[in-house]
Symmetry: C2
Subunit: 240 residues, 2 copies
DNA sequence: CGATGCATTGATATCGGTCAAAGATGGTGG
DNA sequence: CCACCATCTTTGACCGATATCAATGCATCG
């Protein structure tokens, strides 16, 4: 419902030029015509926290854009474990499919506002408008980079390191700052973090405690971290 | 130098419709005009096994397409560990960049034939040709799916399970078959596998031995696996 | 004020990492 | 053709980190 979301519901946040590369930090918004075209085929949806958006295996008729809030993309495994593939934030695109079926499931983490775009119509639109398609190409490239980033995190074997990398990842999203250091929002539960990091819930808890014990961060509350010693923290993130 | 590679150097293998979805298994090749345009800006390169293609951090001026052979995409970490992000096969696109720099490094695994496309010119071409761009969009979406797949593998904690999933992944690429069961080519070294699976070299070795001991597979030689009991094997792949 | 879900903390067992050594393999040159 | 070397791979022993099981603590919301 926010004016911002209504005015620029489908602006595409590009980290520079698109495709397999990018060269800047610019934010490029769609032209008014493009915005209008997307709005004509898109549907606005609001959801409360922890509501299903789509399920793995369902027919993939829609592509989604987050206008506001946080979404998680995950997969329920036969062992009972749940693997969280990604957290999606404002302006992120999601709805990856294969053979006409969604590959993963998606749920809201916080209250969210989404735009749903019917796939077939979107495809038509993209073929007609090369610039618009270029924006989407950029978005997917961004998703790919994010995916690589997660894989890098999973490559680490130590829980503390994974947790530190996760906080660093989230820091790139919600960069609030006050006197004592950057404050990072962690809207999801520990369980979600554990499923994203492929750790047990307990390991996440212990790693958090350990980071705090070492004086690198503090947790003002369960959903926020303050990074205290940025240098040491960054060192921990880089290692391995 | 193979005629196949020359005739269809940049055909794009699509698993159906592009973008975030796909609905079939069709292979769509480029029109002769598109092929010609790409050939005009592209350069053909042949490499022997284990040769560098580009390094992480270098200016990302080119996008690559594998015509023949296998390429690995990796990252050298400060700890000395090497993380292999992906193995690229015929028709795969690679050269992911951020801020004008390559995100990873790339090397040939086997002898390879590549096509290098200058990024700027390719971007121009794509903006002009919506269909061609659509193909590239599809390719990147495919890369994204592959990346998710690897993340799923890394989510598993047991070495045997990871190894089984890896073999299953490779089976999707090289599906040879003979009387006793599907034969899967593993062109890369154990070290490469270990770096892809985020395991130690020894763990890969042990996991392979264990799979063989259980009668699920045999290794005719180091670079081939035969899947013996497909059902049991698939069960192992699915679990967790 | 209980109740329910979420989170922390503790104890133990297991699996893979690390170190070390020996065993294949393939290519090279005599 | 064979011997030799470098590289890759296998196997073994030990240790540490994390999963797992279990119990307790702490919110938020009726």
């Amino acid at each position: 419902m926010s004016p911002t979301a209504q005015n620029r519901p489908l602006s595409v946040h590009l980290r520079g030029l698109p495709f397999l590369t990018s060269v800047g930090q610019d934010e490029i918004t769609l032209s008014s015509g493009q915005r209008e075209a997307l709005l004509q085929i898109g549907l606005r949806t609001c959801l409360r926290p922890n509501r299903p958006i789509y399920s793995s295996g369902a027919p993939a008729d829609w592509v989604f854009v987050v206008a506001e809030g946080v979404v998680k993309c995950f997969r329920d495994l036969s062992s009972g474990r749940r693997a969280v593939c990604a957290f999606l934030f404002a302006r992120d695109l999601f709805g990856l499919a294969e053979n006409g079926r969604y590959l993963n499931s998606a749920r809201s983490v916080t209250a969210v506002t989404l735009y749903r775009l019917p796939l077939q119509q979107l495809a038509e639109l993209l073929k007609q408008d090369g610039q618009l398609q270029f924006h989407f190409l950029s978005k997917i490239t961004h998703e790919l980079r994010e995916s690589h980033r997660r894989a890098l995190i999973l490559g680490r074997r130590d829980a503390i390191g994974r947790m530190a990398m996760f906080i660093a990842l989230m820091a790139g999203r919600s960069g609030a700052h006050d006197g004592r250091g950057p404050i990072v929002a962690l809207p999801m539960t520990r369980t979600d973090m554990a499923d994203f990091l492929s750790l047990s819930l307990e390991a996440v808890s212990r790693a958090s405690a350990e980071l705090e014990r070492r004086g690198l961060v503090t947790f003002p509350d369960r959903h926020h971290v303050r990074i205290l010693r940025s240098a040491s923290f960054a060192g921990l993130v880089r290692a391995t």
